[in-house]
């Protein structure tokens, strides 16, 4: 029931007791403000760390060619292990749990790519189509390399935004044009961006693996193979890695315990380790947040108790004039709820506002885009308001049950 007269009485009381209202409100607003800042900082830390992994799929296992370090079945150590297209076909068909797979044939930097009068030295990567997903490339324009490019060894090239800007001056359209790569013309089919921001992933052009092998004399060799394992857990990923290791050891006749014959790098395992770190950070932030809330609740309760004590005489007067205990309790409580809710909202707005303000300015590797879960923030505010009301309720109830004569007694 909305009782206008009662609200007028409450507003009147608030207006006449500005200092008390301010102190109560300030402690609530400060509690909420700090909570939001801490939560935001925690999220920022978490996002920053996670962004370190954004450059490539977090569920990938990478394999590179190596050299045996152990003698095995009559072969000496020091033998080069060279993976070929057949290894790619084999892994794709003989290992369960593989989601995407791609071979890589790399020509490291120093390859001259030119268009008209512009030219530059870049790396060339020959890849299968799945690689574009594994490396999490984003397409700026044109298209990605596709199955037909691979099957017919088409001389098509996907260039980075950086290469596009270096070769095609004055906004000239690059898609559909031919560039010279080490003297061989390739048709530009698309422009990509790799938002991990690392330069060596941008000084690159991609061509179909088959085209790279044919044009640049790679035969059937690949430098490496990468697979993704879908949403496998770290344990499953390690199992898949071990299975690949064992089967590759059998194919290439090296000791399965030889760590150097082929190099494996399992990002799932790594990612899981980091995820545990995120979980710890997140837990830490929550512990601080809950601590802040408790501090806020204690502060608000304390102030409410003092406020009620402060008003004992007023309550006694009101009772002598005919106020019922219920009207006293509801007067004190409604005032408490009004102040804490309003102050909580102010704290919420200020906290979120500050986060928004600094969010755009801060972009360091391990701290970026701090923000707060609005449900959590509102929940915390509500909790504080309820706590304040409860904290006010008990002394208000006591004050209302005090005989007016005791409240009015001159100290």
């Amino acid at each position: 029931m909305f009782d206008l007269d009662k609200w007028q009485e409450i507003f009147n009381t608030i207006e006449k007791n500005k200092m008390r209202t301010f102190l109560t409100g300030f402690s609530v607003a400060w509690g909420i403000f700090m909570l939001i800042i801490l939560q935001g900082a925690g999220v920022g830390l978490q996002k920053g760390t996670e962004s370190q992994f954004r450059s490539s799929a977090t569920n990938a296992i990478w394999i590179w060619n190596g050299q045996t370090s152990k003698a095995y079945k009559g072969s000496n150590s020091g033998r080069q292990i060279q993976m070929k297209n057949e290894d790619y076909d084999f892994l794709g068909t003989h290992i369960d749990g593989i989601d995407k797979i791609s071979g890589r044939y790399n020509l490291w930097s120093g390859n001259i790519i030119s268009y008209k009068k512009e030219s530059g030295a870049y790396s060339i990567r020959g890849i299968h189509t799945d690689y574009q997903t594994v490396e999490m490339l984003t397409l700026v324009k044109g298209r990605f390399l596709n199955e037909h490019d691979q099957r017919y060894s088409r001389k098509c090239v996907l260039i980075s935004k950086l290469v596009d800007e270096a070769l095609f001056k004055h906004g000239e359209e690059s898609v559909g044009k031919y560039v010279n790569i080490n003297g061989v013309p390739f048709k530009v089919v698309g422009v990509f961006d790799d938002d991990d921001g690392r330069d060596d992933n941008m000084q690159v052009v991609y061509v179909a693996l088959s085209a790279a092998q044919r044009v640049f004399g790679g035969g059937r060799n690949v430098n490496g193979i990468v697979v993704t394992v879908g949403d496998a857990t770290a344990e499953e990923a390690i199992e898949i890695e071990n299975e690949m290791k064992a089967k590759m050891a059998a194919r290439h006749r090296f000791d399965p315990t030889d760590e150097r014959a082929l190099f494996f790098w399992n990002s799932v395992e790594e990612f899981t380790r980091f995820r545990k770190l995120f979980a710890s950070i997140s837990l830490f932030v929550w512990v601080i947040g809950i601590g802040t809330i408790i501090a806020g609740v204690v502060g608000v309760s304390n102030i409410m108790m003092i406020v009620v004590k402060d008003r004992t005489k007023e309550i006694g007067i009101r009772k002598a004039l005919g106020a019922t205990p219920r009207s006293i309790v509801s007067l004190v409580l409604q005032e408490a709820i009004l102040i804490t809710a309003f102050a909580g909202y102010i704290g919420l707005v200020l906290g979120v506002g500050l986060l928004e303000l600094i969010s755009d300015r801060i972009d360091t590797p391990f701290f970026r885009q701090p923000e707060v879960n609005i449900t959590v923030a509102i929940g915390a505010t509500a909790l504080l308001v309820i706590a304040g009301a409860l904290a006010g309720f008990i002394p208000a109830q006591r004050a209302a049950s005090i005989k007016p004569i005791e409240a009015l007694r001159d100290e």
Binding site: E9, G316, I317, L321, G322, P325, K403, L408
Partner: protein, 237 residues
Amino acid sequence: MIKLNNIHKSYQTGNNSLHVLKGINLEVNAGEMVAVMGSSGSGKSTLLNIIGLLDVHDQGDYYLDGNLIKGMNETKAALLRNKFLGFVFQSFNLISFKNAVENVALPLYYQGVSRRKRNKIAMEYLDRVGLLPWADHLPNELSGGQKQRLAIARSLIGNPKVILADEPTGALDSVTSSEVMDLFQEINQSGITLIIVTHENDIAHKTQRIIKLHDGLIDTDHKNGRTKIETNAVFAI
């Protein structure tokens, strides 16, 4: 209007029980103006608080305007206080953050009278006690006599049948005390019953009836200066 039969009251302080009222028999008729006197500790304020429903008695019967007051809960007591009784205290007990009009109007808030209406009525009562020019002032901007007149206006606004005053002149000088007593007499003439607790003889003699308490019992009960009833004579030394 007020009828007390054998009222007892004791206060518990730790293990000690302090027997303050030891069997009070008293009848106050409508329209009377009564002074209750006695040395400190004689129980006069306790008696007033029980009559004013601010405190509860342990034993005996109390009738207020024909209603037996017994086992009353706080809510009902509050309603009766609001409807029947007005209070005036030695220390005024005004709400310090409310101005004169708001203080006077407060009893009407608890009667559910709308803000505009009760403030208008409060202005009339302020006029009646001569405080209209101070309507917007806070209590601490007023003199002691003005504060007490303000408190009296507040006690009148709810249209009570009985006004209970606990040492109303205790904090005032003799000139303002006399003004306040004149105001009380004027109020009494309008038909309102008045019970005034005091220890000052000249204040008591401005009433129609003086009840003297001694050690929790009524010692003497004079009317117009003559002994009306001698109660508990056996205890008088």
